[in-house]
Amino acid sequence: MSDDEILHQYLTCTMCGFCRPVCPVYRVFENETCTPRAIVGLAYGLLRGELDVAQASATARLSVSCRACEVKCPSGVEILKVIRWLRRSAWRQGIGPEKKRSAVEYLKKGLSINGKQPRVEQQEDVEVVLFTGCCERTEYAVVEEVFKQLGVSYSVVEQLCCGLPLLLEGLEDLLREHQQRALSKLPREKRLVTACPGCAYMLKEAGLEVAWLPRFLSEKLKLHQLKPVDQRVVVHEPCFGLRYLNAGEDLDALLRQIPGLTLVKPEPWCGAMSFCCGAGCGWELRQEGDGPKLIRRERVNQLRGAAEKVVTACPHCYRWLSEEVPVLRIEELVRMALA
């Protein structure tokens, strides 16, 4: 994003503050400086030379990229673009958390953000390619089990980064390079399936045919007889599934297909305004400070108020929330229904 575009965003922002109560970072720090509108103001301070990069980008670096502010903004300010512009300015000056820096270095070397070698299984006669992104294959064990139950043939691509971290840090040049290099390894003619909504978003943006797991399972379950799953669960809808991929309906549809299930949503923090768990598709856990933990606490309180058991459809949300509260993966519910 150019300086002129940032100025346009700033001038478009009326500073109405509608973004304030929906921002998880503001809600846990309770400091105006953390609000999306303030971040837009701080970007202007940097443009004007009235703030230096470290000052102007401090709260943009705390963002969990959940995009709730953009959904709420009636003026259509592209706040995430402003955040990425500030983050990119910080990167250029060597400012940023070590955990993110080392991950980006790995990506430059063609490794995953965890420093692992990507593994691409080459099998011609499979129906789909299961894309695990930066998750371990073990985290997809239930998905593989369900695929077998459903008779879905698949090969697996592991530890290949979808590029989301580079997008969230505003490193557009690196992202382009990465996508050319890494994503070219993927079989173009096969449909990709991933449980991570961040990966699904990035792969879709890169022009690949991809299905987020809830959509894929929903399609498949139509052909199967399901048993009732007598559970009362509160749904944690992942930010990236809702506000990046715009696929909240896919998750709802899958949950509605499972008989016997009593679904609860934590009003008002559900649907388009679903509250982030703090993980930011796993990437934002690499930032400094307690932000993600405090946000998780806030989210867990909202979920606990609604029901005992939580269900989610993102491996990062699952891993992060599980540290504090029992969580079911969506595929576990499907397995129960197929048993």
Partner: protein
């Protein structure tokens, strides 16, 4: 050594140092980013404080007020910073006292019909907490999801429901206020009626933080209607819409809300929210509420007849809660949606709020459009027509000094029209700094009396200086603009 032998910097330095003795580091903000962030509110201005304090208790507020008074540091109480006239900005620097962490609902007393809250409670959160009891604090400002009760009291905020249920002032039963000299006073009482001397709560409501810091509010609450009927009437001439409003207000069943939007606003909100409102010269939204279907829907027939007699093009209504919610979400989003109105130009919080007699609403809207044409700016007008409370957004090239001068002239004419029509400068947003220049359009005696009260309660003028025209009436609002323009 007397205080006046210290320089401003020395006094500020001592003030901040002493704050550090009472507050943890992360609640006294002096870093550049924080000062910059608190330099904005929803107005056209930018003014940085020297320090920000995040208070959590009334005792902490007391400490800050005492220190500010001792060192003569300007002190600006701040809620969510949604004010449109610069009320929550530190016009002369000094200290912003952020009260949003004081957000406890202390007591809900349904049997006595009141709620006792701290000033930082968000309006929507309060009503969510009251909802299980079937009650609400009704004024419903457009910024209700964001704004705080303290800010609402300080500006006598209201919204679409004020027509039937009254503005904030009508609901304030009691207040706890820290006066500028550090005295904690309890004003009013938690009773539904009172006749025991001056109503000093009313003096504090709308005082914009110039007389003290509000630390507790007791608000009258009202039962929430169970049934609603909401109609949208589309007119091809704004005068017809105005005449309809005039007659709707006279209905035996008072509508819960009567809103008006001109074409500029309709187009903007349709673009932003995809509402599909009819894009005509003006629409009137009229809503009835009650505790039965009959109570809410019966008056619609008469409302429709009135609108038909005034030449309505289209009259549709809904009782579906989701459709109603969508409609009101669109209405509340008019103000920021106008940012998308004109390519290359931006909307500004100018002429944001004015009030005229209900019978003059149509005339006012028409004259605002003429003013816009005269000065080459776009003005979108909307508002709570049922009580004569109108809002505008002025849209122009904010990077052009000439455009700003034209906008200033347009605003001057807008307010002159309002005063000429028997109205006033603000119905619910307050004066702050932006509207202070227009105080010279009003009779001066009232302002003189306000200044005398201010001198009595705040002789050192520490509380929110530069607002309400209390020191002097500025010659223009073209000061400390947040835009990239040199005037």
């Amino acid at each position: 050594m007397s205080l006046w032998e210290f320089t401003w910097e020395e006094r500020l330095d001592r003030f901040v140092t002493e704050l550090g003795h009472h507050f943890p580091d992360n609640r006294v903000l002096t870093d550049e980013a924080s000062k910059y962030a608190y330099g904005f509110d929803a107005s056209i201005h930018f003014a940085k404080p020297d320090v920000v304090v995040l208070a959590e208790t009334r005792e902490e507020v007391l400490t800050v007020v005492n220190l500010a008074n001792r060192y003569r540091i300007p002190l600006v109480p701040r809620g969510a910073g949604t004010g449109l006239c610069g009320h929550a900005l530190a016009w002369y620097g000094g200290c912003i006292l952020d009260l949003t962490r004081m957000n406890k609902i202390r007591e809900i007393s349904v049997e006595n019909k009141w709620v006792r809250v701290e000033p930082g409670v968000v309006y929507a959160d309060l009503n969510r907490a009251l909802s299980p009891h079937g009650y609400a604090f009704p004024p419903e400002p457009g910024s209700g999801d964001v704004c705080t009760i303290g800010g609402m009291v300080a500006t006598n905020a209201s919204g679409s429901r004020a027509l039937k249920y009254g503005a904030t002032r009508e609901h304030v039963l009691a207040l706890e206020v820290i006066l500028p000299n550090g005295t904690r006073v309890a004003l009013g009482s938690s009773t539904l009626k009172r006749s025991a001397g001056y109503t000093l709560t009313h003096l504090m409501v709308g005082s914009e933080g110039t007389l003290g810091v509000i630390t507790e509010v007791v608000l009258r609450i009202a039962p929430v209607p169970t049934h609603y009927a909401t109609a949208v009437a589309a007119f091809d001439q704004i005068e017809k819409a105005g005449r309809a409003v005039e007659r709707l207000v006279r209905l035996r069943t008072l509508p819960a809300a009567i809103e008006i939007m001109d074409r500029t606003c309709i187009e903007a909100v349709n673009r932003a929210m995809e509402l599909g409102l009819p894009e005509v010269a003006g629409i009137v939204i009229v809503e009835f509420d009650g505790f039965s279907t009959d109570e809410a829907e019966r008056p619609l027939e008469e409302a429709k007849r009135i609108c038909q007699e005034e030449g309505v093009e289209q009259f549709e209504y809904t009782t579906d809660p989701q459709e109603r919610a969508r409609l009101w979400a669109g209405r509340k989003a008019v103000l920021p949606s106008l940012s998308r109105a004109v390519g290359g130009k931006y909307s500004t919080s100018l002429a944001d709020d004015m009030i005229v007699p209900v019978s003059r609403v149509a005339e006012a809207v028409k004259r605002f459009a003429e003013i816009a044409k005269r000065y080459g700016v776009t003005i979108g007008t909307y508002g709570h027509a049922g009580d004569g409370n109108l809002h505008c957004k002025v849209i122009f090239d904010v990077k052009s000094p000439e455009a700003w001068q034209q906008a200033w002239k347009a605003c001057w004419d807008v307010y002159r029209v309002c005063v000429d029509l028997g109205g006033d400068l603000s119905g619910e947003h307050g004066i702050g700094f932006t509207k202070a220049p227009f105080l010279r359009l009003r009779k001066p005696r009232e302002l003189e009396l306000m200044r005398a009260i201010k001198r009595l309660l705040d002789p050192n003028n520490i509380m929110n200086p530069g607002k309400l025209g209390l020191e002097e009436i500025p010659d223009t609002f073209l000061y400390k603009l947040r835009y990239p323009v040199k005037l």
